[in-house]
């Protein structure tokens, strides 16, 4: 059976916490077609509602939850949503994805997105249902973990409600606080602090309104075929071992950031590897509506169950020089409870550890508690201090860039961030296409908005050289990621898709009724990349921000056994500033941007972005 339109309700809910009012606002169908959903629609709403130059934690700054047309369909991994706000870490666009039935129930409220502006007078729970939005007091949820708060809310309101909210770190405005629901986090960029700045502990949703599907039979057929493929070899790695298994791979490629990027491999990698974790009892979990189930939850000796991924493993392990598997599990569990982004937490602490070892903290009494590399107890203490903004934790809670500025001297060159967002687990010197992806990403050092690492692992690629031909690969991977993040489908599904763009277009067409083609979807991806960039440009971005930490561009790559072990690839490899500039120029050119990375007016027009670009005036 077909209906003319599907996939969208054609409106979003704008809640102004300061006035307590909410209203539905139309999303024109052609806008939905041009920006798909997820990070695309989210970026548009951010640009519409954020006053130019607004401070990320100012009440006027919007907090956006954007759904996608696929939410609520039987397509595997589609129960996802994007959280978009101006990031307190980067002062640029911050977007993060999460998976939960929250997405389905929010869509059931009859909206395609939620925009929250203003701030509540007291800590509150934002209730959203089919009747609109309202606030409830949330004093009893204060300083609970997001998970505990969720349990409390569902006890109170019923199990059919879903909750997405913050832990203690978000409440204390830690700049890398997460927003979480069902133990899944919108992790990067400190969006939890944005919600915290509005004194919203969380959003509870329930709605049952169905979104029509254009061609439900076709959607069901596509969903069946996709589910089948999602159980094939293209996702086997995620199902069988999860991403933790990347650790030994990265280590062997000398691409595992270790001790704040002083080495590309870690001598104790085996002891803390995914394989070592799998010696523990574990269970596999699935996000809502997912047939893959990449989440591996490990049981520690004390019976605690800890969800572990490569990024948490690398950031709380080798990056901080920690070789104690159980301590890393504890640290990951603590981050989950406190609501801390593991990458930024590990990155900021590793940076502070190096500063301590180099004597850069001398004379700063409040930094006396900063541990040295390898100090597992110190790591756990520091995580708690960050979430409590206690002692040195108060300074670390602002991320490595602000900490480095405060310390001055050589510290800024050692801080492991791009645009203020800490680097994920890919050593840029050992993966130079990825280095480019990290340098230019709109949300800062990022492995999710660009899959450029894949180009480094291609036969024939030279991952140790900053060739100009890396630009098109990085640009293309960014476009594909923008499409996936707007559809929204899980990136771990890509191994099961022959052609993300063609298959994504077919799904969209079946769900929405748009006669979407592969080319149009690719164009939409380009548009979304450009739109995010336009937001940053409005907020003061210049090409000088598209760079990497000075140490990455100055120091040759080392390995765990430099001098002793000889089988580490890439020892001594460098990535020069000139090489990076060369790659960036080819990346700008691949997108059709100017040599200063600006988007020419003609391209804005050609991408049909003129009316979607961020507002240049205060929208209030």
């Amino acid at each position: 059976m077909t209906t003319q339109h599907g996939g969208h309700h054609g409106r979003y809910l704008h809640v102004d916490l300061s006035t307590g009012s909410s209203r539905h606002v139309a999303i024109p169908r052609d806008v939905a077609r041009r920006l798909i959903g997820g990070v695309g629609i989210g970026a548009w709403l951010l640009g519409r509602h954020a006053p130019p130059g607004v401070a990320p934690l100012d009440a006027a700054a919007p907090f956006v939850v954007a759904l996608s047309p696929l939410v609520g369909t039987p397509l595997t991994t589609s129960a996802k949503f994007a959280v978009v706000a101006k990031s307190p870490l980067t002062d640029r666009i911050g977007d993060a994805l999460a998976s939960d039935r929250f997405a389905v129930l929010l869509k059931g409220c009859g909206v395609d997105a939620l925009v929250v502006t203003g701030a509540a007078a007291d800590w509150s729970l934002l209730i959203v249902d089919e009747d609109g939005a309202r606030l409830e007091p949330a004093a009893d949820l204060a300083l609970l973990s997001a998970q505990a708060a969720e349990e409390r809310v569902r006890e109170r309101r019923g199990d059919h409600w879903r909750f997405f909210g913050i832990g203690p770190a978000g409440e204390r405005l830690v700049h890398f606080a997460t927003v979480s629901g069902d133990s899944r986090h919108a992790g990067r960029g400190g969006l939890g602090a944005v919600l915290g700045s509005k004194r919203i502990k969380g959003i509870a949703v329930h709605g049952t309104r169905r979104t029509p599907l254009h061609d439900s039979e076709r959607v069901v057929a596509l969903a069946r075929a996709l589910s089948e493929r999602s159980l094939g070899p293209g996702t086997a790695k995620y199902r069988e071992l999860g991403t933790v298994t990347n650790l030994l791979v990265m280590n062997r490629l000398n691409a595992l950031p270790t001790r704040n990027f002083t080495s590309g491999s870690f001598e104790d990698a085996e002891a803390i590897s995914g394989e070592a974790l799998h010696a523990l009892p574990s269970v596999r979990k699935h996000c809502a509506s997912c047939t893959i189930g990449c989440e591996h939850v490990f049981e520690t000796g004390s019976g605690t169950r800890v969800r572990m991924e490569y990024e948490s493993l690398f950031a709380l392990g080798p990056l901080c020089g920690i070789a104690d598997r159980d301590a890393i599990l504890k640290a990951a569990a603590l981050c989950d409870d406190l609501g801390l982004d593991v990458i930024s937490a590990g990155g900021t602490i590793a940076f502070a550890m190096e500063c301590r070892e180099r004597g850069l903290l001398a004379g700063h009494e409040d930094f006396a508690t900063v541990p040295g590399f390898g100090d597992a107890e110190g790591l756990l203490r520091m995580l708690a201090d960050i979430a409590a903004r206690r002692g040195a934790g108060a300074a670390l809670a602002e991320g490595s860039r602000r900490l480095a500025r405060r310390l001055g001297g050589e510290a800024p060159g050692l801080a492991p961030h791009v645009k203020g967002l800490e680097l994920p687990g890919y050593e840029p010197r050992a993966m130079q296409t990825m280095a480019l992806g990290l340098a230019v990403s709109a949300r800062g050092a990022d492995h999710n908005r660009s899959g450029a690492y894949e180009a480094d692992l291609r036969p024939g690629a030279d991952r140790f050289t900053a060739d100009a031909d890396k630009g098109p690969a990085a640009a293309a991977s960014e476009v594909r990621a923008a499409v996936l993040d707007s559809l929204i489908l899980c990136k771990f599904l890509r191994g099961a898709l022959d052609d993300v763009l063609a298959e994504g277009a077919a799904m969209l067409a079946a769900v929405t009724g748009f006669d979407m083609t592969r080319d149009e979807l690719e164009e939409a991806g380009r548009r979304i990349v450009a739109l995010r960039k336009l937001f940053n440009a409005r907020e003061g971005w210049t090409a000088a921000e598209d760079t990497l930490p000075a140490r990455i561009l100055a120091e040759p790559l080392a390995g765990a056994g430099t001098g002793a072990r000889t089988n580490e690839p890439g020892i001594g490899v460098t990535l020069s500033a000139e090489g990076l500039t060369r790659m960036i120029a080819s990346y700008y050119a691949a997108h059709g941007w100017t040599d200063r990375g600006e988007i020419p007016a003609g391209l804005v027009e050609a991408l049909l972005l003129t009316d979607l670009a961020p507002c240049s005036e205060d929208p209030r």
């Binding site: 070899p233 298994t245 791979v249 062997r252 991924e309 024939g460």
Partner: protein, 300 residues
């Protein structure tokens, strides 16, 4: 086919030649079908057929296999004959091999002599002259499956088999036979590798060692989990050879990580020492460089 259409052989004045590879034996001591044993990127049967074709000409090779025996993929110009020759001694395979429709002399070998050389085959054809058989002989032993036979000996072989006179020397005593001795053989094959049959695992290992260097393969993520080991050692000169040998040694890697014919499954990568990624099966492996086998899906 007219005589002019018969592909000319290399060497020996261009007289027509043909070849036969017998693979229907029991492989009892090896414990598995020897035709399938990997050897440098190909299976033993594929290798034998290729070497023989190199000496007798394309389209001039037959393979004699058991009825129902599953064979590795063979070049399209190879004819497969089915005959159960088990328990009939080396002469058994000669009957189907020496087909009556072709009067060219036939080099006959088994599939389990991977170190056979075209030069040895040339030598035997050259030695045949007007005789009916030219057979390799070393250390007092004749090697009936490293020999050239004229098809006219077939009726005699059939009658010998009917009388259960299965020893090849009975044939050589009855028809004009040239025995090509060790000195001549060593001139083209100094270590007499061509006479080494791989009848058991040790002989197979020795043949591999004579042909290829050792290659270490490091396994990551599900390759490691499925193989139950972090590292495997195989003998190979090329990437394809190493992966085929690995697929054979670790069947659990097929099909998720490797294809049955030793290719990389989709989403899998091979890296030379972590320095560069390669996917060309023919890529020659540099000495002392391990292969890393890892998933291309590296995102976290």
């Amino acid at each position: 086919m007219t005589r002019d259409d018969v592909p000319r052989a290399r060497g020996s004045g261009g007289a027509p030649r043909r070849g036969a590879v017998l693979c229907g034996g029991r492989s009892r001591r090896m414990g598995r079908d020897k035709a399938w044993l990997p050897f440098g990127g190909e299976r033993l049967l594929q290798r034998a057929a290729r070497i023989v074709a190199g000496a007798v000409g394309a389209g001039r090779v037959v393979v004699v296999a058991r009825p129902g025996q599953t064979l590795p993929a063979l070049s399209g110009d190879i004819t497969v004959l089915r005959d159960d020759v088990r328990d009939q001694g080396p002469l058994g395979g000669l009957v189907p091999a020496l087909r009556e429709d072709d009067d060219a002399p036939c080099f006959v070998t088994s599939c389990d002599a991977p170190l056979l050389r075209a030069e040895v085959i040339d030598l035997l054809f050259a030695a045949l002259g007007d005789a009916d058989v030219a057979v390799a002989e070393a250390a007092g032993y004749v090697h009936p499956l490293c020999a050239v036979y004229r098809p006219r000996v077939r009726p005699l072989i059939e009658s010998m088999m009917a009388a259960r006179r299965l020893r090849p020397v009975f044939l050589y005593d009855e028809v004009p036979t040239v025995r090509v001795g060790e000195v001549a053989l060593r001139a083209v094959d100094p270590h007499l590798h061509c006479l080494r049959n791989v009848n058991d695992a040790d002989a197979y290992e020795m043949a591999l060692a004579a042909a290829f260097p050792e290659v270490r393969i490091e396994l990551f993520d599900i390759a490691r989990a499925r193989a139950g080991t972090a590292c495997a050692t195989v003998r190979a000169a090329t990437l394809g050879g190493a992966l085929l040998a690995l697929a054979d040694a670790c069947p659990a890697l097929v099909p998720g990580v490797l294809t049955a014919d030793g290719g990389l499954a989709p989403h899998w990568r091979a890296s030379l020492g972590g320095e560069r990624f390669i996917d060309d099966a023919a890529a020659v492996l540099p000495p002392h460089t391990p292969i890393l086998l890892l998933s291309a899906l590296a995102g976290g």
